[in-house]
Amino acid sequence: MSAPLLSLEDLSVQFHGNRKASALNQVNLELGAGEVLALLGESGSGKSVTLRTLLRLHPASRTKIQGSIRVEGQDVLAMKGRDLELYRGGTVSMVFQEPGLAFDPVYTIGQQITESILAHGEKDVGKAKAQALEMLEKVQIPQAKRRFDAYPHELSGGMRQRAMIALALACKPRLLLADEPTTALDATVQIQILLLLRELQRETGMSVIFVTHDIGAAVEVADRVAVMYAGRIVEEGPVSRIVNNPCHPYTVGLLASTVGPEHRGKPLQAIPGAPPDLANLPGGCSFAPRCSRASAQCSSQVPPLVSGSGGRLACWNPVSQLENQ
């Protein structure tokens, strides 16, 4: 891989409001141009925090960020003012989980897309409008002209998410962050949106980080999967390897807890326990208290994320070994 589009180095995020919480703990991650990465994990594992930190959306007064974020060689954490505005939505943009909440309710869809295009350097209002309309057509919104003047509440959930994607792609970002883009939608619409995202990704060649807790969705769109737990990446590798040969007990548990036709009539496998309190992380491996393979070492030492030919793994007692390089 040549110079990666995105690289996170030892990225840690701490929130200090009423109580401290370590939402991300020394995350290292690289993403190449045109690559699609799925971030997989339970609620509170740090997936969404990673995305929001990439766009620096957390309130600065309550957030402490350490480490570095580089996108196209630029230091994101050092960006200020206009540079940051151009970066947000220009270089990197985001599709939110709830399209119903992420649009401003008192502006039309068209106004909002146009505004975003104008904020990223387009001077001509007419051109910006035409471009916005073109985007709505590109995400296959029927009767795009009419939908252009519709308010968010006048569209269905699926249409709103399409419009959200149109908005996110309007300024031709190099990297798209999709934060559980299908969670709030009906099952049939979910698949349509996933297919649309994959199609647009292939067409534009952008990179995508796709946050989900739905392994099926991850398999559908991603090249690579990174599994997160308690603000750390615990396992990472190509989709096929993760699905066929998961090494981390947590990944194994996640895969076992998905529902498929072959599970009919059998009891659903759940991972016992709940994710740890981010304000009070256990000393060793965060997953140790819930892990059936945990040893004394697991609860005293944090396992390092070790690279192998099948990706990366942070586990003292893996279910199966990651092949060495």
């Binding site: 943009s93 909440l101 505004e115």
Partner: protein
């Protein structure tokens, strides 16, 4: 949208009618006989009867109401018992004066309230937030006639900057657009501005602080919009609620300023109501009440019509 406006207009009709009934009947519930105010205590029976029939007070109340409403619809609110002048004219000149006062007070109060509230909402928890909260608590809880008296003592008696009472030099009641007249407006307007200031500050602060936590504001930032552009979005989202609160406040100021107008002897509707009550001037009281209530109804109608123009979710 047009259907919505028509519906709102239609709703206003029964409201306005009930307002006329209440304005008319309320007065009869109060103790005291209007004739006492004009006829001497020892007036002979025939004089009283003649006066009663002259003012129509000998007819049953529903008939009186019908006649009054019929004339009111034609713009005739009767004659003031105390002054003998047409009520409509008296009320209209008072409404004009109050409109000036309430307009300036609301302008100052709402503008300052929006600015302070927005600053406090953006900096919630900071010193400006604490300052704004304190100010709004004071604004809401302070007795306004007392504030009026204090301002009079400080600015008219001690400093001599502004006149203490009246609406113009030499007791003139006719407003003119010059500094000589404007000086008279300042103290009562400042006193009255404190009322909407407190409430609007609190409302805007709560709205803005809440709005900043909303997902869509995060999403606006994620699109790379500048702080100013994000603020425009927030402003447009808060506008309908602010408008509704401001509309109510202006309505109260138009009619509810009896104490302030009395303290400053400002010849407005509050002052007129006060006079009418003390003189038991029933036609004047009814006419003033009616006009004030109608202004209130119209203000709310305006707010109802304006709101969905800003937020289309409301127009249904």
């Amino acid at each position: 949208m047009i259907a919505y406006i028509l519906k709102r207009l239609l709703y206003a009709v029964p409201i306005a009618l009930s307002v006329t009934v209440i304005s008319f009947v309320l007065v009869f519930l109060a103790p005291g006989d209007p004739l006492n105010a004009i006829a001497p205590a020892d007036a002979p029976e025939e004089v009283i009867t003649a006066l009663k029939s002259a003012y129509g007070l000998d007819k049953p109340v529903p008939v009186q109401y019908g006649l009054w409403l019929w004339r009111a619809l034609q713009g005739d609110l009767g004659t003031s018992i105390a002054s003998g002048r047409a009520v409509a004219g008296e009320v209209m000149s008072a409404v004009g004066n109050t409109f000036l006062l309430a307009g300036l007070a609301a302008g100052v109060g709402v503008t300052l309230g929006c600015i302070l509230g927005a600053l406090a909402g953006y900096r919630s928890g900071g010193w400006i937030d604490r300052f704004a909260s304190t100010l709004s608590v004071i604004g809401v809880s302070i007795p306004h006639y007392w504030l009026g008296l204090v301002l009079t003592i400080v600015f008219s008696i001690w400093l001599g900057w502004f006149p203490a009472m009246g609406a113009g030099p030499g007791g003139s009641e006719a407003w003119e657009w010059n500094w000589e007249h404007f000086r008279y407006l300042i103290l009562p307007a400042l006193t009255m501005a404190v009322i909407p200031l407190g409430i609007i500050t609190r409302t805007v602060r709560a709205l803005v602080a809440d709005m900043l936590e909303q997902e869509f504001v995060v999403a606006l930032r994620a699109r790379g919009l500048s702080g100013r552009a994000v603020f425009q979005h927030i402003a447009k989202n808060t506008a309908p609620t602010v408008l509704a609160v401001a509309g109510l406040q202006i309505g109260y100021l138009m009619g509810g300023s009896i104490l302030v107008e009395t303290v400053f002897a400002w010849p407005g509707t509050g002052f007129l109501l006060n006079t009418a009550i003390f003189q038991r001037d029933i036609p004047l009281l009814q006419g003033t009440l009616l006009v004030l209530c109608l202004i209130f109804v119209v203000l709310n109608l305006l707010v109802d019509i304006l709101q969905p123009l800003i937020d289309p979710r409301m127009g249904r």
